[in-house]
Amino acid sequence: MSFEPILLAPEEQVEEIYPYRRVWRTSWLEIWVLLLAVAAIWVLTHFFGALPATLRDPLPKLAIALLPLAAWLVFSFRAERRAPQPRPGLVGLLILGALAANGVAIPLQEHLFTPDRWLPGQGFFGRVLGYGLTVGVTTEFLKYAILRYTGWPQRFRQRLDGVAYALTVSLGFAVVYNVHFALDPDMTLTATALRVASVTFSQLGIGVVTGYFLAELRIGRPPIFWLSAGLLLAGLLHGIYYSFRGIAIVSGLGVGATASSPERGLALAFGLVAALFAVFAFLIESSDARMEALTGRREVL
């Protein structure tokens, strides 16, 4: 007969320290902060009347436009600095993302692709293809190029590194788009806030696709058309979001001056980022688990 002794002072179990910043957790915090801030502005304007509906001052609009950047500095960047093994070069990627958006993506969109001139008359699939194959692929190719020619492959140790870096570049894109909206004198504070949240959520959500495909190319053994497939997928996701956003905002009946409903556009953007985060978290977790089962480790050393 055997028995296990019961210790009066059991040994303290040593918890393994996770050496990297937890990307999903900090990104979710940023998203919730932005969502709550935008919801607060909307409620204060439309329910309590505390903010005038015609408020067009540039300062509050700039503040809401820069809120995603502030949230990133508070949650992601600070957590990265505190992590035992921080990811380097994040600020540089953020600046490069902003420069590429302002110097290449926006001029191409406004002067060459001009989606507002020809897409509104198209059907759903025409919009998906039209927007995805012009604005969508260009945006995601620029993000790819920044990641590819700065830190890839040496800074990609695990699949989540791809997500972390791609989210940073996407935030640079989103901030520039947001500032452009904020400086538009015709936009009210509420409209700017809703637009800022929509743009930020869609850029972050679709940016994850590019990061995942780049990380998988570094770590796994994908086929030679892997990145091309990722680029087209990300581009078409932009197109799908653009098409559904049009439907979400202008569909429905209303008794006001217009029947448009920008808050449905916000809900769609939030749904997009939540769905993409969930899907790619699952894909990354299952790929990492498979790799751990085969090789005994989850990262490239």
């Binding site: 050496p19 020809w118 995805g132 692929v137 890839w152 040496q154 087209l232």
Partner: protein, 201 residues
Amino acid sequence: MSEVIWTNEGPPLTFRQRWNGYLIIGALALALLLGLTLRSNTLNATQTLENLEAGIRAQIPQGWLVDSGGADYVFRAEDPDALPFKTLLQVSILPVGPDATPGNILYLIDMQRPNTLPAYRFISRSQITLRDGSPAIRRTYAYTQDERNPALESLPIVVEGVDVIVLRRSQAVIVTYREERSAFDDNYYRFENLLRTLEIF
């Protein structure tokens, strides 16, 4: 805990990684080619408009609203999606005497326009040659248009217009393009397309 030392030198690229890098550029080029072709086809898609009674056939942009029941024009096509001014293409025919010159027609138009177009201003006049070699007069002008709905409280918009006048036997054909001033140059190609495809028979 071990410290990670970052270097700028990455590991050498594998065959798959190299070819992924090449193919993504090809995929971008292909996607842009398709996207820009789709854009071009959409913006330049046309439909044929024919009026056998007036002897006019022309290509106008697809999806535009066409009105061919006016007393002073053969047809008028407007872009229903354009804001704040519905871009307009119009073809009119005026019966003229055998001694009429394009200058006479211009004088007649200049007499009538200020009565119908607010703040009408003549801008320029030039001689041009159409594709088939026939001489014509090109005249530009501007006027203001007020929003008809007073509840919108909008400012008047400035509209720029151009007429091309050409004499055909005992008729003067007037081809007109009008657009809000800031979008005038961007959509001018539509007017050129109309002129290029206009047949008078």
